[in-house]
Symmetry: C2
Subunit: 332 residues, 2 copies
Amino acid sequence: MATIYEVSALAGVSLSSVSRVLNDHEHVSKKTKEKVVAAMNELNYRPNTIARSLASNRSNSVGVLVSELHGPFFGAMLSSVELELRKAGKHAVITAGHSDEESEINGLDFLIDRKCDALILLVDAISDDYLIKLSKGNTPFVILNRNISEISDHCFYLDNELGGYLAAKYLIEQGHKEIAYISGPLTKQDSTERLTGHKKALAEANISFKESLLYEGDYLTKSGRDGINYLIKHKTTFTAVACSNDEMASGAMRGARDHKWLIPEQCSFIGFDNAFFTEYLYPQLTTINFPVNDMAKMSTQWILKNVYKQKELDIINMFIPELIERQSVKKN
Amino acid sequence: MATIYEVSALAGVSLSSVSRVLNDHEHVSKKTKEKVVAAMNELNYRPNTIARSLASNRSNSVGVLVSELHGPFFGAMLSSVELELRKAGKHAVITAGHSDEESEINGLDFLIDRKCDALILLVDAISDDYLIKLSKGNTPFVILNRNISEISDHCFYLDNELGGYLAAKYLIEQGHKEIAYISGPLTKQDSTERLTGHKKALAEANISFKESLLYEGDYLTKSGRDGINYLIKHKTTFTAVACSNDEMASGAMRGARDHKWLIPEQCSFIGFDNAFFTEYLYPQLTTINFPVNDMAKMSTQWILKNVYKQKELDIINMFIPELIERQSVKKN
DNA sequence: ATTCAATATGGAAGCGCTTCCAGTTTATTT
DNA sequence: AAATAAACTGGAAGCGCTTCCATATTGAAT
């Protein structure tokens, strides 16, 4: 593997000059540049990224840390973020945290140690305090799907409360009064916010919120099914169930069907996120849209602006959910 | 940020000694080791991974290149690979190739330039020749879901033909004779192999394969729906449809339902992969299991054995698909 | 022609670590 | 106690690049 040294020898110029053309510096004469480029081609030269990082303390790459690598929401977000970075000519270095504080911090250190120019974090186990402290460090970062007020300009998030509100309001407008709710883990910010929105809509319609109609799931498909079974076992009655994400809604529908319920005739369902598969469920799932791509795009714009000083762009931190009306809710 | 130099000064030993304890070398006295560790703790020392890579030409990380970051199959594989590596104390550096040859090669170079100790490749745009040439280079790698005979010991793949065969055979056993087939892109190895297996089962049962009942999809959900529409538009008749993956099966069911067909009463469906969501479709999808986790585990074992010389393990390159019987196929 | 600034180039130090070699100390054997 | 091997330690070069500083060259302005 040829080095910058061999290139300089072949081109008959100094190391510094080669380095300059490599980095697109100003103040390099056309002639030297041509000589160097020719030499590079002849030697099939490829710069050693590691050496560059060590000497310059930069890497031209952005670290992405996600709590999970799979699942419709994380998958879509990951994919979208990577695509946006790629468009901007930056490489994404992706790693996973598994929603475990130690692993997440470990992943964070890994990316920082690798001298990523910036980080994109989609994590939930690392504490607010830790992130606030991190913001005083040298590696700039943004946080997705989470709002920490002390550093909210680094955060990109959905108006979850509005989303929860919209879902419940729609069910109420369709004539439902007894509405069960399957939430995500109530230790997580987005879960509690969505539930708050739900309650707000009920209150506005003078419907009292019943604890007995609440089941705390974990955002995974299975817990939707568990939720339905729990509600049925406890002999609660309801005509609709709102779920804190689409996967649980899908699980809940499966659970309802195990009990021979007709959907939506006997029970309506509404999800959250508008994951790609919701359109392919039967019946097609009515849900709340989470503008994943917009958020991904905005977060990379923040980085291009603040880290790479590329463009002067307006940054929006909060995104607005919207109702997607399909066929899983019937008029009551 | 403290360096090895400061540690050596504080501990009163040489740079080399510090490096030795850092790398768990033999021949370091207990006393020196203790002094060094104490100094490291006091200074809150964190090794600079970049510098280590430059000096040693290693990185203690494994590069993972996938064509897509999302989707049930890629997501599951990615997640599983990462988990196995993590268990083995290796870090995964993940990047995406977007099924485009230039991007994939670009991603490959990125990982090689970053001195990954080994690579795990789940790509389909890079040519066999390129990979064969790559196998003569310095970075060891394995290839998932693809078999290149010249380097088949680096390859981990499913017996796709058997899978296709199993699916068709099951449909035939259930009394189906007119079976439509929605394939993946026929430029891809797995697609054609699955189709070959399908044809083989038909032939064994003396059922002739009709070109008119074949639709070439692209493995995405939408193309399953398109396939059904195409088949209906061309006035073909069939009582079952076999799909080359679960997403297309899900799309096909949706398409059938758009035409008010009852599933499985009027038409049976079978998928491929046994993606997590198939259990939550309605009706639950009968499909062929792809042992994603086993493959992921085996590929990291190959790396632990061949690159990190950790264990002496048996390596299996070909995996066996199995029928998962659920409710989307009825007796005819 | 002379001056001065702008532009272009080379030299050399240094980024933080690994690793080879040589030298020193300790333990083991006779 | 001497001889030998084994265990341990330090010095120094070097991984491939960037970047600061100093010097050389060019061109424009007087």
